[in-house]
C-alpha cells in the first residue's frame, strides 16, 4: 500500500491526524494554529458550501459581506460577548512596516499606530448590528435575513486540523425580526436546516437540542445545537443557532417603528457552521484504510482504473471506459478516469481508497472480452463483477445505497452509544469504559454541571429538543429532575 495510517484502535487521535495529511485534505501552516486547506480538502468544503448556500437561499436568506476588522470599542458594548471572545483574539495595532537595517530588516513602523485597535473578527455580531442600525427603521425593513461566508480568527492555544484552528472558514447568519416569536422560529428553523444537511448530505446523524446556560454562545439567550458522535465515542458540536433576544439591538441601539407606530428594539438570531464540519465528516465515517466519503459530498464519486500489462491494451479499454464516463456524466455523476501510466493499479487502488472515492471501477482485457467491469464500494470494501450494459444505472443506484448505508452505520453506532444511566457510579463507569452519550437526570443547576465537568471532563452536550418528560433524581446531587439530558466527552 502506498500510505499507511495509524490504526484507530491504537491511537484514534493520531489516526485522524495521519488521515488528514495522507488523504491530502489539509496541513499545518507556518503560522501558529492556522491551516492550509489543500485542494482535495477544499473541494469537499466547496461541495458543503454549495449545498448549504442553496438551503439558506431556499429559506429566504441572502448573502452579504461585512468587514474583517472590528473596532475594539464595539466589543465592549455587549458585556457577555466581550467576556467570551476578548481572551482569544488577534489585534491589529499598526498599519505600516518600514526598513530598519540596524534592527534586522523590516520592522513595524511605530509612527503608524492606529488610534483605535482593530480586532480580527472572531464572529461578526457587533460589526453587523452596528450596521443594521442604519438599515432598520420600520417594521417594513424586517425581517432582515442575511448570511455571510467568511474567515474568522480565534486565538486558540491547542489546535487540531479542521477541529480547532486559529483561523477557520465558516458562514454566519445574522437575522433581525420584529417579534420575539419570529426570532425564535428562525433560530429553530436554522438548526433544522443544519440537522437536515448533517444527516442527508454528510450522512452524520445528529441530536438537536438546547445548550445549558453555561454552554451558551456569549451574548445569546438560547443556543440550539446539533451534536454528532464520533467513532471514539466523543461528541462533536457541529452547528449552533442562537436566539439573541434584544441584547445586540440594545447594545447597538437598533430600534424599529412597529405597525402601531411605537418604537421597539429589534429581535436577533445568529447561526453558523464552519470547516469544523470537515472534521466531523472525516471522523464519523472513515476507517483504517482512509477516508470514507458520502457520495453527495465526494468531489470524485467514481474513479475508473484500467488494468493492463501491455500499453497496446489501453486503447481498447479506454474506448469502452470513455463510453461509461460519458454515460455517468450524463447522469450528473462526477467521474475520473485515471489512465496515468506512471502508477501501478495497486497504488491507485490504495490512493483512491485513502481519498474516500465511493465507487471504484476496474477494467482489464478479460472484462473487455466478457463485457463486464469490476465495481468496488469504498464503504463496505465489497467487490462485484457486473455487466457493462446498464452500468451507469447500476452505479447511480449504488451511490444512493452507499449514502444510505454510511448514514445507517453511523446511526446504529450512535444508537448503541446512548446509554441511560441512573447512578453516579454507573455514570463514571460508562464514561470510562464505553463513552458515547450518557442520558441522565440533572438537577438543572450550573453548580452540579460544573462539578460533573471538573470530576469527569464530561459536559452537558444538550437538552434534546424532543425529550421525554419523566420524574427522576439528579445522577450527581440526587435532587429532583423532570427530564434527562445528554452528557459526553467532547471535541
Amino acid at each position: 500500500m502506498a500510505k499507511e495510517l495509524t490504526p484507530r484502535s491504537e491511537n484514534y487521535s493520531q489516526w485522524y491526524q495521519d488521515l488528514v495529511i495522507k488523504a491530502d485534505l489539509a496541513e499545518s501552516s507556518a503560522v501558529r494554529g492556522c491551516m492550509v486547506i489543500k485542494p482535495y480538502g477544499y473541494a469537499i468544503w466547496e461541495k458543503m458550501q454549495g449545498e448549504l448556500d442553496r438551503m439558506f437561499k431556499e429559506t429566504g436568506h441572502v448573502n452579504a459581506y461585512f468587514p474583517l476588522f472590528i473596532p475594539k470599542s464595539f466589543f465592549s458594548k455587549e458585556a457577555d460577548h466581550v467576556e467570551g471572545f476578548a481572551k482569544e483574539c488577534a489585534v491589529v495595532t499598526h498599519y505600516r512596516l518600514k526598513n530598519d537595517e540596524e534592527n534586522g530588516g523590516v520592522v513595524v513602523d511605530p509612527a503608524a499606530k492606529l488610534e483605535e485597535e482593530l480586532i480580527v473578527r472572531p464572529t461578526s455580531e457587533t460589526i453587523i448590528w452596528n450596521t443594521y442600525r442604519n438599515w432598520i427603521q420600520s417594521h417594513r425593513d424586517l425581517p432582515l435575513l442575511i448570511n455571510q461566508w467568511a474567515n474568522v480568527v480565534r486565538w486558540e492555544m491547542r489546535t487540531r486540523l479542521f477541529l480547532r484552528t486559529a483561523e477557520f472558514l465558516w458562514q454566519e447568519g445574522h437575522t433581525a425580526h420584529a417579534t420575539k416569536q419570529e426570532a425564535i422560529d428562525e433560530t429553530v428553523k436554522m438548526i433544522n436546516v443544519y440537522a437536515n444537511f448533517a444527516e442527508n448530505f454528510m450522512a452524520v446523524p445528529v441530536i438537536k437540542g438546547v445548550k445549558t446556560a453555561n454552554e451558551r454562545f456569549a451574548g445569546a439567550l438560547d443556543t440550539y445545537t446539533i451534536e454528532a458522535l464520533m467513532q471514539d465515542g466523543k461528541a462533536l458540536q457541529s452547528g449552533t443557532s442562537h436566539f439573541l433576544g434584544q441584547n445586540f439591538a440594545k447594545a447597538f441601539d437598533v430600534k424599529f417603528t412597529n405597525k402601531e407606530g411605537r418604537e421597539e428594539y429589534v429581535w436577533a438570531t445568529s447561526w453558523g457552521v464552519s470547516t469544523r464540519l470537515m472534521g466531523a465528516l472525516i471522523m464519523a465515517h472513515s476507517d483504517d484504510n482512509g477516508l470514507v466519503l458520502p457520495p453527495k459530498l465526494a468531489p470524485i464519486q467514481v474513479v475508473i482504473v484500467p488494468i493492463y500489462k501491455k500499453t497496446e491494451q489501453l486503447g481498447a479499454i479506454s474506448e469502452k471506459v470513455n463510453e461509461i464516463v460519458a454515460a455517468l456524466k450524463q447522469k450528473g455523476i462526477s467521474v475520473k478516469f485515471d489512465d496515468s501510466d506512471n502508477k501501478k493499479p495497486g497504488w491507485k487502488f490504495a490512493e483512491y481508497e485513502m481519498k474516500g472515492v465511493p465507487v471504484r471501477l476496474a477494467m482489464g482485457p478479460r472484462d473487455l472480452e466478457n463485457g463486464t467491469v469490476e465495481i468496488a464500494r469504498r464503504d463496505t470494501l465489497e467487490k462485484n463483477i457486473v455487466p457493462i450494459e446498464g452500468v451507469s444505472e447500476y452505479i447511480e443506484k449504488l451511490l444512493d445505497e452507499i449514502q444510505q448505508n454510511i448514514f445507517q452505520k453511523a446511526f446504529d453506532f450512535r444508537s448503541h452509544m446512548i446509554t441511560k444511566v441512573d447512578t453516579w457510579e454507573e455514570f463514571k463507569d460508562v464514561l470510562k469504559n464505553k463513552g458515547g452519550f450518557i442520558s441522565a437526570h440533572w438537577d438543572g443547576t450550573t453548580e452540579t454541571e460544573e462539578k460533573i465537568k471538573s470530576e469527569t471532563k464530561a459536559t452537558i452536550r444538550c437538552i434534546p429538543l424532543e425529550n421525554e418528560q419523566e420524574e427522576g433524581k439528579c445522577v450527581y446531587s440526587g435532587k429532583p429532575s423532570t427530564q434527562r439530558v445528554l452528557f459526553a466527552l467532547a471535541y
Copy 2:
C-alpha cells in the same frame, strides 16, 4: 422618482458614489476604508465569482485556502515585494484583550504580545511559496495550478467603494511550472481568461497589454493587464497576470528535480481580479437613472410589475404572470414578480431602473384583455407592447440583444476614445479636453514615463499585446521609438 442621482455631466465621481449607495450595492463601514457589500451588490459579485470559478476550473485549476496571516519575516525574503507592500499593511501584534476598568474598559493585554508580528495578507505569494516548498520535489509534481478566493488588506489612504478599499475580496491564482515558457504561457492564458470574462460577461471591452517596468507587480518580471475605459474617459486596470520568473522560488528555496535528474528552481505566475471589477461594471454602463447591468451578470434578469387600481384585478393578472414566470424559469431566466401592494408601480419602475434590471414587464387589465404585455429594456429605455403568446422566447432573445448592445455601446465609445497623438501639445490637449486612451510613441525609458506622469498625471496603461510596429519619435523626448503605447488618466 424614488431616488435621484447626481447627473454624470455635473459630477461623475459623485454620480458613482450616489449610484453605489442608491442601487444598494455597498456602503462605507465603521472601519476606516473598509466597505460593507450589501446583498444586491454581493449577488452580482456571486454571479461574477461563479463564472470566473467555472473558467478557472475549465482551464485546469483547483481551489485551495492559505492563511490570512503572513509572518513578517516572510516579507523580507523577496526584496521588491516587501518594497511594494510594506507601506500599506495591517499588522497584528497581540492576541488578547483584557478588562482594565481604570483605562476605559477593554484594552490590549501587553502580556499577550506576539514574538513575531503577523501581516494581514495584502497578497499571498510569500505564504504560498513557503508552502509550495514542501509540495514540490519532482517534475511530476508540476505544474501546480491553484487558485484561492479570499479577502486581502492593503492600507490605502484614499478609498472609494469597490474601486479602492482597505479590505477587498478577490481571487489569486498561484501556479508553479517546470519551465520558463510554460509559466509565460500560463500568464498569457489567464490574461485571456480575464479578457474573455470582461468582454463576454461584463460586456466591458478591454485592451490586453503588458505593463512597463515601472508599473509591474512588486516581484514580477512581467505584468500583463486588461485595461478598460470608463465613461469619464479614465482607464481602469481590471485584472492582472504576472510572470514571476524564479523570484519567489529563489526567495523560498523551491526546487524540483527535472526529467534529467538535475535540481532547478521552479517558475511561477500569479494572477488576480477583485471586487474592483464591480466598480468597472458599474461605471462602464450605467446612466443618470441608475445601474445598467449586462443580463449575464444581473441577479434579477426580468422583473414583472402588475398595474391595477382595484385589488380584485390583481388575481387575474397574477394568474397570467405566473404562467410567464414559469416559462421564463424553464429557460433558466431569473425573474421576480413584484406584487407587493405597499408601493406604486411608478415607484417600482424607478427602483428597478436604479437597480439595473435588464428587462421590465408591466401588465394591467387592458393587457390582459388584449393578450399583451409591456416590455421595457433598461439599456435603451425603449418600451414595446408584445403578445403574451411566445413572450418567453421574445425575452430570451431580448436578453441576448441587450448583452450585445451594452457591449457594442461601450466598444464604440472606447474606439472613439483612443486618440493617436504625435506631439506633446496635442498630448496635453487631448488629455485635458477629451480624455480616453492616448496612443503615442514613447522612448522606452522610466525617466520619460515619470516626467509625463508628474506633468500630466497620465500613466502608461500598457503596451498592447497586438501592437503594430512602426518607426516614430517619443511624444515627450523626441527620441526614436518602435511602437506606440497607451497613456491615460486612471483610477
